[in-house]
Amino acid sequence: MLLRRIAVRNFRKLASPVVVEGLGNGITIIAGDNEEGKSTLLQAVRTCLFERHNLGGKAAEAMQPFGSKVRPEIELGFEIDGKSYSIAKAFAQNPSTTLTTPDRTLQGPAAEERLAELLKFRIAQRGESKPDDQGILGLFWLEQGRALEGLGFGETGRSTLRGSLEDEVGDVLGGTRGRRLAEAAKKKRDDLFTPGRSDPKGRLKEAIAGAKTAEDRVSGYEAKRREYDRDVDELTRLRRELAVITNGRVLDNAQDELDKVERQVRAIEEFREQDKTAGQAVALANAELTNASERRNRRKKFIQELERKEAALNSAYEGLASLEADTRDVTDKFQAAEAALIAAAAATNGAEARVSQSEARVRRARLEKEIADVEQHIEAASTLAVQRAEARERLSGIKVNNSSFEHIQRLESDQGKARAALGEIATRMRFFPSAHQAIRKDDKELRAGEEIQVTEAARFMLEDFGAIDVAPGTADLADRRAKVKDTDETLNKALLAAGVQTLAEARSRLSERTEDEAAVKEADRLLAVHAPRGIDALRDEHKEKVLERNGLAEGFDPSLAAELGDPETERRALASAKTAEKAARDALDAVRKNQHDHTTALAIATEKLRGAKEDVGAAKEGLEAARKETGDADLIAGLETAKANLTEKEHLKSETERWLAAKNPEETELRRRRAKETLKTVKNEVEQLHRNANLVEGRLMGLGQSGFGELLDEARGARDQALARRNRLQAEADAWNLLVSVLSEAERDAKEAFLEPVRKCIDPFLQLLLPNVSVKIDEETFEITGVTRDGRVEPYTDLSGGMREQLSILVRIAFAIYLREKDYPAAVILDDALVYSDPDRFDRMQLALGKAAETVQILILTCNPAHWRQLGAPIRRLADGRTKPCWGFPAAAE
């Protein structure tokens, strides 16, 4: 379907006639200012096509311009399959419909029915048409601001589209039943798993928990069963042990053994008492004997003490006498020792003098030799000093040295060379006088035939002849002559400085210098040998030695000269003398001490004698007194009696001990202890066994009464049931999972296949607008649900207004193109579209619209035609449409 012409009059805002013509196959821009009626024009198109002409009431009134009661009229011209049609409708007053087809003209309802048939929509049964009545055609007309509301396909639009798609790809979706089955399966699956299908829930969760509880319950009873079995075993063991003790009379035997040993112990105790009494008697006899013995001993001690004191008195007498004799002898020895010491001291003095004399003699002889040596050195050194001084004197008079000599040698060589050079160019003259006449030059007579070199103007006086002037004429003669002169002068200066006149003399002087320098060096070397510290030092040394020698000579005792030995011999004699003197001094000290000791001992002995006399007197008095009390014989008799008593008591004691030893009380005691312990242990053991047995028995009774055995069997059955239920439900859950998964996959594939033709229409436009974005369309409602961008799904509602509007337009166009190919009427009208688009998107949308316009007609209503100019589409202005003459609208036929 292609709209070619729109004429409107008395319709809402468009009260004045407006005619828009020249609508092209592709895009046509219909321009109008704000409030000029662009949107009304679109409403007029809808009304003309979809509203019954006899629509009444408020809907019809609303078509009239505000405040007027005129007759709204609308006429549309369009083409289908290249054939022209027109529809003209008038509303409210004298409503009418006229459809002009290539074949005929229809009026009224027939016209409307034919129109609905042509354009595949549904005539509203009552009232205004609903969007759903408008068929597929109305879907592609987008009023201002509606782009963001979604596509808004009604059931008619959806069924038309679904029918077309099913015609093309078949019934891949399976209709609502398939959806219901899939939903039901998903619900069943979701009843068993939490969202995300990770955790069980509902019946499955209960079954898993129930199986776990049932297993735990069985485990609990099985633990009780093990406990019960353990206790049964324990009780059996305890009773067996008790039976062993009872049957073996273990307790009675232990008691019998203890009784027997107890009797033995009592018998031993009686004898132990007897032994104790005997022991006490022995102790008493012992004490008596000790007493007698002590008394006897004390008497003995008195007598012995008296005897000892009398002996001491005698000893004191003897000691004093002996001391007095010794004292005299010691005095004699002291005097002898004193004399010996004096003699020894004198001998030591003599020996010391001889050592001194002997050493002086040796020293003096050594000094004599040293003095002679020094004197020789002094003499030699003095001679050398004189020789060195003479050589130095001569050296001071020689100015030539190696350097000046070599200088003179060079100068003389230079002089020779200068003279030779002069001689080469000098005028040589020889005179050969015939009569031996004298020839003179500068008053000096020349020999005949002697060659004279004339290097400068010279006058020769020839005897008998006169004078001859010779003037050499060589050019550089003067220079060579000056050179000779210079060398002469330089040489003379050098010779003069060297104090010589010739080179030969200079050589002779240089030779003398060399000899004298050698003499000085040799004298220095010898002086260093003879007088390394100088001659004055030698002389001082000589003086000291002479003084020492003279001193030694004065102290010498000539009388000793004959017998005096060498110093070593004399020193040994001195050592002997000193040793002898020390021995004599030690001997005297010893004797002196001895003498002192004797004097002290004598005083002590005298005092001791006095004390001893007093002790003897006192002891005699004490002994006599004791004897008066008890005589010595009585003491001896008492002692013997005590001894006899002790012997008797000890015999009795040994008898009881022997008996006790025979009875071995320690062993008996050990046996008694062991028997007691055994009895105690057995009793404890029996009690413990009874206690334990009662305990276990009680426990077993408790456990048995609880009837856990019955419960265990029941619990095992219940567990098996619970496990089976869990496994069954798990299998069912797995099956639901699989079913949902398979259904989902199948449904997804089906949706993909179902929408594929539409997608093929959308994608080229989408690529122009948004590369790498795919749009998701609900296969039921055909609404845009979102986009997939970079693999991520974005819901449609989350997209920006601009993008939603763009997608909304593109998808409409795609559907229009798709249906256009299926021979459905499809023309796109966009009222004030793309107001939310940025310049780039706007540009891309224009490209997409341009591409779409190759297939489907697009009318763009806009207040800003300049924006659309680059589309190159024809622009029709509403204002221009008003200038057209009013058309002849057909009169109402009804």
Binding site: G170, D171, V172, L173, G174, G175, R177, G178, R180, L181, A182, A184, A185, K188, K224, R225, Y228, D231, V232, D233, L235, T236, R239, V696, E697, L700, M701, L703, G704, Q705, S706, G707, F708, G709, E710, L711, L712, D713, E714, A715, R716, G717, A718, R719, D720, Q721, A731, E732, D734, A735, W736, L738, L739, V742, L743, E745, A746, E747, D749, A750
Partner: protein, 370 residues
């Protein structure tokens, strides 16, 4: 003098039956005491000299006091001798149901044979018991019977609990062995055995009575007591198996084919009157279509209302939709695609889950139709 006695065993009173729902558990547990009471009445009615219980009166050594008291009460209708032998479930350990029973002041006619010593029944017979003192014993506790000297005028009856392993149709417990020819070796007139839950004659003079009230899905014949009469020492005993059980336990494996849901009733082959006391376990196998599956479920529901308890295991039943099934759910659309994909997965490693998932999908479909 002849003797007549009832021989039973393996009452296992106090058994838990935890695999059943609580209401079933209560009934099964109390029924075991009821059956014991029924035996006591039978003994009284038939004027027997004694009732011998060859072990496992109780399911466990730790049965509740109340259970013991109920047991004692159940014995009261018969005032003749009750000779009770400890078995492997209730051995005469140091502390046991027997020691606890004794504390309840038992009447003199209740004899606990927990020692291997003679028990005389009047002047007619002597019982040689072989009580178990532990759950498992590797020794043959009936050995002592061989050398036991009894009065020649008394009928010798052995009472034991254990297995005759080489003879029983199926291996019983490996422990607590009893020699196959014990009756002959020990010159017994009758050997009353317990442990094997089915009624079974081991030899001319040796019998397992089996449990009087089944407690599991059996592969033998439980539910009887033996009424034994021995005319004199050396006489061959006359043995009558008397049914006393209340519930029948039946297990069936049934192969179902498409359209063959009624095979369930055919395979059961139980009279309508007997269904109400049936404890029934059905293991269904086969590959069926959706319609048959629905019919099978209907059968289950009906049967469940008729029997005492039904345990139906349909894990062996594979649901394989027919083309009509598939078309019934969807001829196009993604659900059909999903079904086809599940069918492919059934051939793969996720076979079980995929099969189950497909069944769930069918279930959903039917729910949505309903």
């Amino acid at each position: 003098l002849s003797i007549r006695f009832l021989h039973t065993a393996d009452l296992q009173i106090g058994k838990g039956f935890g695999q059943f729902p609580p209401e079933v558990v209560g009934a099964l547990r109390s029924q075991r005491l009821e059956t014991l009471k029924r035996i006591a009445l039978l003994a009284r009615d038939r004027s027997v000299d004694a009732v011998l219980i060859a072990g496992d009166c109780f399911d466990d050594v730790a049965v509740a006091d109340e259970t013991l008291r109920r047991f004692k009460v159940a014995l009261e209708p018969f005032d003749g001798a009750w000779v009770l032998l400890p078995g492997n479930h209730d051995p005469a350990t140091a502390e046991s149901p027997w020691s606890r029973l004794r504390r309840f002041s038992l009447p003199a006619n209740i004899i606990i044979a927990d020692e291997p010593t003679f028990v005389t029944i009047g002047d007619k017979a002597v019982i040689l018991p072989a009580p178990l003192r532990r759950r498992r014993d590797l020794a043959d506790l009936t050995d002592w019977f061989d050398a036991a000297v009894t009065d020649n005028h008394l009928i010798r009856i052995g009472l034991a609990h254990g297995s005759v392993p080489e003879f029983l149709p199926e291996p019983s417990e490996a422990t607590n062995p009893i020699a196959l020819n014990r009756a002959e070796r020990a010159r017994l007139d009758y050997l009353a055995l317990g442990d094997w839950h089915g009624c079974f004659q081991v030899s001319e003079r040796s019998w397992y009575s089996g449990t009087p009230e089944p407690d599991r899905f059996p592969k033998n014949e439980p539910g009887y007591v033996l009424d034994v009469t021995i005319e004199r020492p050396g006489a061959v005993p006359r043995v009558e198996a008397v049914p006393v059980a209340n519930y029948s336990w039946t297990e069936r494996a049934i192969e179902i084919v498409p359209g063959g849901a009624n095979e369930i009733r055919h395979a059961l082959d139980i009279a309508e009157a007997g269904l109400s006391l049936q404890v029934l376990r059905l293991n269904l196998q086969g590959t069926i279509d959706l319609a048959t599956w629905a019919a099978v479920n209907e059968e289950f529901a009906d049967l469940r209302a008729r029997v005492f308890y039904l345990e139906a295991d349909d894990t062996g039943l594979t649901l394989e939709p027919s083309d009509d099934d598939l078309d019934g759910i969807d001829t196009a659309g993604f659900v059909r695609v999903a079904m086809n994909r599940l069918r492919e997965k059934i051939q793969g490693p996720e076979s079980d889950i995929a099969r189950r998932a497909r069944a769930l999908l069918y279930g959903l479909y039917h729910q949505s139709c309903g």
